[in-house]
């Protein structure tokens, strides 16, 4: 049986450039959570989208707040006494480019967003030093989000691996608000790398936790838990045609009707393969190095099934799994 994904990833609104104040910034030296006052991004964003954040602050604590988005900004006086440029930007040139980070929590009502990231190199290290009260420069929300959970069939399964867990918090909240039955499998190497799992659980969705070493939850891989959930939902006859599960709330017996996954590419490839075998629509969120993040440089391509390339930043980062060739990153 061939699966056709008719459901579409989406873009709700165009992106903006926003100067956002750092509200909280906590970390253990390796994994950090950053909460930002970013009303313009929060208002436009949907789960699965990301921001391009510059790792260097554009204003220090105690300086005046942001000008309204889209308005011309007056020049500011920088700490060295020089007048800054017409549009304030980081004074240093290294790191040069912005870094893509997924939206973990989106709170339009409060005008806030949160991001969870791991320090892996120069950019994330520089970002981790930005103090609360400072201003950071964002482009967002960028990319295509997951499809509208209200329109899908059956129970939604969210799968987050490692730093693929944080975006599942926004996904879980969206699904819960839309009344979609949902369950999450969250996996990491060890308990320490389950960052974002608390934010997912806070939305009230049932969570299955898996770690490679058993330091939290079950010992094993997310695909072990996935096999179990899919197997459990396999009807005896093997006939899944017209098998849309009625909304029965979050009972574990509900058929898994759709999978959204974010995590390391080998994990995504394994999830994609199992979903294809089981005939379950699957959406994956992929990562690439990015220069611009908004479709201009062609630096972030992922091979398209059937030939050619798609842009991760603009056609993705969320793709119907059958549209992309995974395993190249």
């Amino acid at each position: 049986m061939t699966m056709r994904t008719l459901r579409q990833t989406q873009v709700q609104a165009g992106w903006v450039r926003e100067r956002a104040r750092v509200l909280t910034h906590d970390g253990d030296g390796e994994i950090f959570k950053l909460t930002l006052a970013a009303p313009a991004v929060a208002r436009r964003a949907t789960a699965g989208q990301f921001v391009q954040i510059h790792p260097l602050p554009v204003g220090l604590p105690g300086q005046p707040g942001p000008a309204p988005t889209g308005q011309p900004r007056p020049a500011a006086v920088m700490s060295n006494g020089q007048r800054s440029q017409a549009s304030p930007r980081p004074a240093a040139l290294d790191p040069l480019l912005r870094r893509p980070l997924s939206l973990c929590e989106i709170r339009p009502e409060a005008g806030e967003i949160s991001l969870i990231y791991r320090v892996v190199g120069r950019g994330t290290r520089a970002l981790s030093a930005v103090p609360p009260g400072a201003m950071v420069d964002l482009l967002g929300p960028l990319g295509r989000s997951f499809p509208d959970p209200r329109a899908g069939q059956g129970r939604l399964l969210l799968i987050g691996g490692g730093l693929g867990i944080p975006p599942m918090a926004a996904a879980a909240r969206w699904a819960v608000q839309g009344g979609r039955p949902v369950v999450a499998i969250l996996g990491a190497r060890t308990a320490r790398y389950l960052a974002g799992a608390r934010e997912v659980a806070a939305t009230g969705v049932p969570v299955i936790t898996v770690t490679d070493d058993g330091s939290a939850g079950e010992r094993g891989l997310v695909t072990d838990a996935l096999d179990r959930l899919i197997g459990m939902s396999e009807p005896a006859s093997g006939d899944r045609a017209g098998a849309a599960a009625p909304d029965r709330g979050p009972g574990t017996e509900d058929r898994i009707g759709e999978v959204w996954a974010c995590g390391p590419e080998p994990m995504l490839a394994a999830v994609k393969e199992r979903c294809a075998e089981a005939g379950i629509p699957c959406f994956v969120s992929v990562e690439r190095f990015m220069a611009c993040g908004f479709g201009a440089c062609l630096g972030c391509t992922v091979p398209k099934a059937g030939g050619g390339y798609l842009k991760t930043c603009q056609d993705g980062p969320v793709f119907p799994a059958e549209e992309v060739v995974l395993g190249g990153f």
Partner: protein, 321 residues
């Protein structure tokens, strides 16, 4: 911004400096243009800026047929810059003419088409397709590998650079700008060769060949191994080459390489460039071509320059002493 500003030295009163430049028989609103490959075909930027306010948009390198581009990782950041190995992915000139150009025209954009090819004939064919369409000019990217010469870039010898320039010259009446590769022994020799072959202007420079290695995975970062270095890291080299070329040719030079601020643009103009292009800066600040033009105007106002032309080559007079 008042209290800190320095009074214009020329005492030119309140009149705002004139950013327009006249080149190739036409007037451009500003001398700060987005560089090819860093601005797509303009679409991605239309939500944050008015494209008609940009002097000229240099669109992505465009070929006679669509090109797929390179597999694997295509961009990586390096100190003060970035490497790219996009492989000139583009949808082809027919797609440009049926989809992008009408869209750009509706927005009042001035457009220079960067053209690429694998053979001299392919370049000339793209130029012919663009004849009479109303684009403001052609920019020949001669950093492409020449398949008939074993993949060596057209721009690396005076002979092949002149050959491709002459062929396109015969194919077009549009202003013809040739974009020089810095990956050569003597850029002045190439500049003179393409000027003699009929170039109306020179863009200086394209990216510098470089590489970086992912030491954890023990392999080059880029799928293509080598890539083009751009951004502030290349600015001193670009500036030196602009200075050298501007001193050796009569046609206008367009300065490119690592420009992030209005003051960077001033350096290139003072070195002899008649206009500049900004590439990597557009990734950090999508409005960079306008922001940098505003900063340039601010510098001019503060230092009493009324016209862009007053800056062009200004540092050369002292340099000669």
């Amino acid at each position: 911004m008042g209290s800190e500003s320095v009074r214009p030295a020329g005492g030119s009163g309140g009149s705002a400096p004139d950013l327009s430049v006249r080149l190739f028989g036409r007037t451009f609103k500003t001398p700060v243009w987005p560089a090819s490959g860093c601005f797509g075909y303009g679409r991605e930027f239309a939500g944050v800026m008015d494209l008609s306010q940009i002097g000229a948009i240099c669109v992505k390198g465009t070929a006679i047929e669509p090109w797929d581009g390179n597999p694997g990782i295509r961009v990586v950041e390096t100190p003060g810059g970035m490497l790219n190995a996009i492989g000139l992915q583009n949808p082809g000139v027919d797609h440009f003419l049926t989809v992008d150009w009408p869209w750009l025209q509706e927005r009042g954009a001035t457009v220079i088409v960067n053209i690429v090819g694998r053979t001299v004939d392919e370049y000339a064919a793209v130029a012919r397709r663009l004849e009479g369409t109303g684009v403001a000019g052609l920019e020949l990217n001669i950093s492409c590998p020449n398949v008939k010469e074993g993949g060596m870039a057209f721009g690396t010898t005076p002979r092949s650079a002149a050959e491709v320039t002459a062929a396109v010259r015969r194919a077009t009446t549009l202003p013809l700008i040739v974009k020089l590769s810095p990956n050569v022994t003597d850029i002045v020799e190439i500049a003179r060769a393409v000027e003699s072959a009929g170039a109306d202007g020179l863009s200086v420079i394209n990216t510098l060949m470089g590489m970086s290695i992912d030491i954890r995975r023990r392999r080059p970062h880029l799928g293509n191994v080598f890539g083009g270095l751009s951004g502030p890291a290349i600015k001193p080299i670009a500036l030196r080459m602009v200075w050298q070329v501007a001193g050796a040719v009569k046609v206008p030079v367009i300065g490119i390489g690592g420009i992030m601020t209005g003051e960077d643009a001033v350096e290139f103009l003072m070195a002899g460039a008649s206009a500049v292009q900004v590439g990597t800066a557009c990734f950090v600040d999508p409005r960079a071509p306008l922001t940098i033009a505003e900063e340039l105007a601010q510098f001019m106002a503060e230092h009493g320059y009324r016209r862009v032309g007053d800056l062009v080559g200004a540092a050369r007079l002292r340099g000669a002493l």
